[in-house]
C-alpha cells in the first residue's frame, strides 16, 4: 500500500476532481462539500475517463400515492458523476454504475493529513 499525493485540501473547490497516476493506474479523486471519493478513471463501458465529467444529482421521479406522475426532481441525497464519453452515470458514494448496480468502479481510500489529500493504492 502506498500513499499517492493528490494536492492540498484548500486547492479543491466545493465540487472538484483531480486525476492522479500511479504507474499505469489512473485515479479520479473527487471532492464534494468536504468529502473525498476516489475511483479508477476507467469507464466500465468503453474505457472512457469516467471521473472527468460532470458531477450532478441523481434525477428522480416523484409519484403520488395513487401512482400518478407528479414531477422529476434532483435528489437531495444521491450524487452522480458522469463519464463524459457516453454519459454512463456512477454513484459518487459507492462507485456503482447506476443503470446496473451489480457493476462498480474500483474504489480507493482517501486520507487527509496535515492539510494534504492522499489516495491509497
Amino acid at each position: 500500500m502506498a500513499e499517492v499525493y493528490v494536492g492540498q485540501v484548500s486547492e479543491f473547490i466545493e465540487t472538484d476532481t483531480k486525476i492522479v497516476k500511479s504507474g499505469s493506474l489512473e485515479i479520479g479523486v473527487m471532492h464534494r462539500k468536504g468529502e473525498f471519493f476516489a475511483y479508477r478513471n476507467l469507464c466500465l463501458h468503453q474505457g472512457g475517463p469516467a471521473c472527468q465529467g460532470m458531477i450532478i444529482a441523481k434525477v428522480e421521479e416523484v409519484l403520488a400515492p395513487d401512482h400518478t406522475f407528479i414531477a422529476e426532481r434532483f435528489s437531495d441525497t444521491e450524487i452522480h458523476f458522469v463519464c463524459p464519453w457516453h454519459g454512463y452515470e456512477y454513484d459518487l458514494a459507492t462507485g456503482e454504475f447506476v443503470a446496473d448496480r451489480k457493476q462498480k468502479l474500483q474504489k480507493f481510500d482517501v486520507v487527509k493529513k496535515d492539510g494534504n489529500v492522499y489516495v491509497i493504492v
Partner: protein, 408 residues
C-alpha cells in the same frame, strides 16, 4: 482565457477552461496501442462534423439568389428573422453530461487549415482510424423542411462547399453526399453534378424522409449509382414531430426507436418492391440503426412472405436472403447480450457485410475496440469489419496504416 460554465444541479455549475480532442481521447489512444490497431486498416463509415459552424461559408454556395438572400438574412441575428432551417427537439448532449457538445467550442485549431479537418484528424489518429466518411449533423433533419427547394438548394450548397473547400485538403476524409430525397429530379441531378468530385464515395439519404423508396421517379437515380459503382446509404435519424412518436415523453424513447424505425420502413419497402432484383449491383448500406433490428425484420418478413408471396411478386428469394446481401454499419452496436449479438452476426453474414462505424463525435459513438474485443469473431472477421469490407465497397486504394496513433 475563456471559461465555459455548464449548468448542473448545483447553482455554481461546472467550469471548463479548455478542451482538446487528442487529450479527451487519450484512453482511446491507449486502447489503440494495447490492441495493436496499427495492424488493422480501419475505415469508419459514419462520422460527423458540425457544419452549422460553417453556415456563413456554406450560404455563399446557395445557387438561387433569392434563397441565398433569405438564408443570409436568417443568419443575421439583428434582423430577428426566424431561421430558414429546420431545428429539432431533443437532448443529444444529455443536458450537458456529454460535455464535448459544449466544450468543442473551446478547442484551438491552427489557422489556414479547415477546422473540421483538424478535428477529424485528431479523433481519427486517437482512435486509430485510417479513413473516415464524414457526414453533417443538423442537416440530418433537413428532409423535414416543408419546402423541397430549400432542402435541395441547401444540400447543393453544402455538397459543393464540402467538395471544394474541405475534402480536397485531406484524402483520409471522404463523404457520401446528401441527397435531397423530397425531390426525385433534384436527387438525380445531385448524383450527375457531384459524383465526379474526389473524395465522394457514394450518396446518402437521411432516413427521416417521408418518401417511398419504390417511387418510380427514383429509379434513374438508383440506376445511375449502380452504373457508377457508388453505394447508396440510408442514415438513421429521429423525428419527434412524427405522429408515431408523439406519445413519447422522453428523448431516450424517441432516439431508441427513431433511429431504427425509418430505416426499417425503407428497408422493408426496398425488399418487398424487389429493388434488389431491379438493381442487383447497387450496394445499399443501412447506417446508424445498430444491429438488433435486422434479425427482427428478417424473421418478421420471412414469416409473412411465406404466406403472402403474391404481394411481393418481384422476389425470387426470401426477404432475409436479400437483406443478407446488403451492408450495415455497426454503431451503436447493442453489446448487452453477446449471445444475441453473435446470432445477429451470423444472420447478417457480418464477416462480409458489416462495416465499422464510430459516429464520433456524437454521444453514442463506438471505438474500434467494440469490434476487436468481440470473443466470437475471428481475426479475419475483425479485419473485414474494421476496414477490409469497406476497402472493397468504396474502392479504397490506400494501403498501410495512415493513422498516427499518439504515443503514450
Amino acid at each position: 482565457m475563456a471559461t465555459l460554465n455548464l449548468p448542473t444541479s448545483d447553482l455554481a455549475g461546472m467550469n471548463i477552461e479548455s478542451f482538446d480532442t487528442t487529450t479527451f481521447l487519450e484512453h482511446a489512444s491507449a486502447q489503440a496501442r494495447q490492441r495493436h490497431l496499427e495492424k488493422y486498416f480501419i475505415v469508419d463509415v459514419d462520422s460527423h462534423h458540425y457544419e452549422n459552424a460553417s453556415y456563413r461559408d456554406i450560404v455563399n454556395y446557395v445557387e438561387d439568389p433569392v434563397l441565398r438572400h433569405r438564408a443570409k438574412s436568417s443568419m443575421t441575428r439583428q434582423s430577428g428573422a426566424v431561421s430558414l432551417f429546420p431545428t429539432s427537439y431533443g437532448s443529444q448532449d444529455m443536458s450537458g453530461r456529454v460535455t464535448r457538445y459544449h466544450t468543442r467550442a473551446l478547442e484551438k485549431t491552427p489557422e489556414g487549415h479547415p477546422r473540421d479537418l483538424t478535428l477529424a484528424q485528431r479523433w481519427m489518429d486517437a482512435m486509430g482510424v485510417d479513413i473516415s466518411m464524414l457526414f453533417p449533423t443538423p442537416m440530418l433533419n433537413l428532409g423535414a423542411h416543408p419546402v423541397p427547394e430549400v432542402e435541395n438548394q441547401w444540400a447543393r450548397a453544402y455538397n459543393r462547399w464540402l467538395c471544394e473547400q474541405i475534402l480536397p485538403h485531406e484524402s483520409r476524409v471522404r463523404s457520401m453526399l446528401y441527397l435531397p430525397f423530397n425531390d426525385p429530379e433534384a436527387s438525380y441531378k445531385m448524383v450527375q453534378d457531384f459524383a465526379h468530385y474526389p473524395g465522394v464515395s457514394g450518396f446518402m439519404i437521411t432516413a427521416g424522409h417521408q418518401q417511398a423508396v419504390h417511387n418510380n421517379a427514383f429509379m434513374k437515380t438508383y440506376a445511375s449509382l449502380e452504373e457508377r459503382g457508388l453505394p447508396l446509404a440510408f442514415h438513421g435519424i429521429y423525428n419527434w414531430d412524427d405522429k408515431a412518436f408523439q406519445t413519447m415523453n422522453r428523448f431516450i424513447s424517441v432516439h431508441a426507436l427513431g433511429f431504427v424505425f425509418y430505416n426499417m420502413v425503407h428497408c422493408i419497402n426496398w425488399v418487398v418492391n424487389g429493388l434488389p432484383e431491379r438493381f442487383p449491383n447497387l450496394k445499399v448500406i443501412w447506417m446508424e440503426s445498430g444491429l438488433a433490428w435486422i434479425p427482427f425484420v428478417m424473421q418478421r418478413m420471412d414469416n409473412e412472405y411465406a404466406m403472402r408471396s403474391n404481394e411481393a411478386p418481384a422476389l425470387k428469394m426470401k426477404p432475409s436472403d436479400y437483406m443478407r446481401q446488403m451492408y450495415y454499419s455497426s454503431q451503436p452496436m447493442e453489446c448487452g447480450n453477446l449471445k444475441a449479438l453473435e446470432v445477429t452476426f451470423d444472420m447478417i453474414n457480418a464477416k462480409t457485410q458489416l462495416l465499422y462505424a464510430s459516429d464520433y463525435p456524437h454521444w453514442d459513438f463506438d471505438l474500434p475496440s467494440t469490434i476487436i474485443d468481440l470473443p466470437f469473431l475471428d481475426d479475419e472477421g475483425k479485419k473485414n469489419v474494421l476496414g477490409e469490407t469497406a476497402r472493397k465497397l468504396f474502392n479504397i486504394k490506400e494501403t498501410g496504416k495512415l493513422a498516427k496513433i499518439p504515443a503514450a
